[in-house]
Amino acid sequence: MELLLAKYNYWIYALIMMIGLYGMLAKNNLIKKIIGMGIFQTGIIVFYVSTGAKRGGTIPIIEHGHGEEVHEVIKALDYVNPLPHVLMLTAIVVSVGTLGVALAIALRIYTEYNTLHEDEILERVND
């Protein structure tokens, strides 16, 4: 129980990913598959971001005072780790790119077959 609560962020990301995976593999509608893919990737983003988070932490920007006298000591422990967040910026870009390509393909499939249901497409393909 303690494991469950202490590491709840991991359980959440795993849950989100599984929902996404289910959508990708089990759904018949291509758009639903794409949505599943989005959820799946979001799970990973949640995972990364949560690892960098810290209770009571703050953004890692060093405060320079505007006056002359304000010069605080830099306390690294107070800051959240910025690297995972930065990595996720890239990952988000990638996932948006993937989403775009996926939607584009889905669009072309729709114009070609007039449907987005996989079984109907397969029927047409195998004819």
């Binding site: 799946f40 990737q41 990364y48 890239t90 990638v94 584009a104 393909i105 070609e112």
Partner: protein, 489 residues
Amino acid sequence: MIDTTQFPALIVVIPLLSAFIVCMAGCFNRRLCQPLTVLALAGSCWASFATLGQVVKSGAIHYRLGGWAPPMGIEYVIDHLNGLVLVVITTVALLAAVFAKISVAEELPTRINLFYTLYLLLVTGLLGMTITGDAFNLYVLLEISALTTYALITIGQPRALHASFNYLMIGTIGASLYLLGVGHLYIMTGSLNIADLAVILPELYSSRAILVAFILIMVGIWAKMAFFPMHSWLPNAYTYAPNGTSCLIAPLMTKVSVYIMLRVMFSLFTPAYVYQYLSMANAIVWLAVIAIISGSLLALAQKDFKKMLTYLIIAEVGYMVGGAWLANEYGITGAILHILNDALMTLCLFLAAGAIIYKVGGQQLTDLKGIFHRMPVTMTAFMVGALSMIGVPPTAGFFSKWYLILGGIQAARWEFVTALLFSSLVNAVLFFRIIEIGYFETPEDKGVNEAPLSMLAPLLLVAVSLVVVGIYSGDIVSTIIQYAVPKGI
């Protein structure tokens, strides 16, 4: 004397920048695209050869992008292993680009500029994946190459659409699992640099999070390389892609993924961890055996010869993964040598197939009637590729198979040895079936009707190189590959 210190960056930067130039140039004049692409790849190819020469002469090269020191900055690391893979990528891409000219002009007349732009981006992605020394950077480039591949496949006939969509789903799952695995490593170590991770990780080998990370990364890569049982996306995607595309992706995509697997196994982790700490090797060799046998048998069942070749790729992936997991020097040498050989022979077969499809207009086995009379030169080259696939000396395919079987014998993995021999025999049946159709059955029109020179030249070059690489495989192993095999297995 030319300054070679910037070459590692140039290998990647040339195709990247050229992609934009080609895109621009294509707006003004479509005929500029292909020559520019060839030019760019030739430059990249030259740089990669020079870099490999440098590595052979004086050991691994570390190149810091923007001068930032690792582990903060991203660095490029070129050692014997990826030096060889870089040469393979640039060479194959160059030859396939020369070949693509006519086939793209025929298949995609309205999208020439898009094709070559994507083509260059794909090559950039592959090169970047190979050259980078950073685990996260690798993910990004993995996705760059994957996204361009989806597009390059879809650009062709309508049947490719659904295949490409499936590929996109599996590919995304694979890349995401890889990313997740890297995330686990990052949590445990706080580093993303491969060399840095390799130093930190051994202390943490008992951790379960590291184990999970390793498995996630492996499964992710296997999905990308179509390793059994995650192979189902590959045949359709490669079959219905335009020929210009399949000539590039069929030889390269799986091979680069195999390289990534080796990199993760030996550079990120250590052979000791992979082979001794984890007791997975046994199961994975068995999976490889199933991959080889099922790939071969499914190839036998095909009526479409391009699809037949794609199933062979699945079997070949089994060769390499199995070899790498035999956990001995011969097996790993064989796997690395096979990256080179298989890239060449797959290229040879797909180029020949592309030329035939261009001339005959169909890709069913029955379209090959009397093909030996109609396209004697193409078929000669095709035969060289086929013999290499079967593993007849002195073609290259024989020698990597030699190492793989020797590794199997040494590890007493008789199931792997049997699978390799079985697939050789099935390949013999496959290709001699094509010979029977092409040689005994008479075509409708009898005259000789060869493919144009821009298709034949790269094809013949690859065919000759298969024999040359075969004959010199002793030298390739002793100057390059033996340094790429991890010590102390």
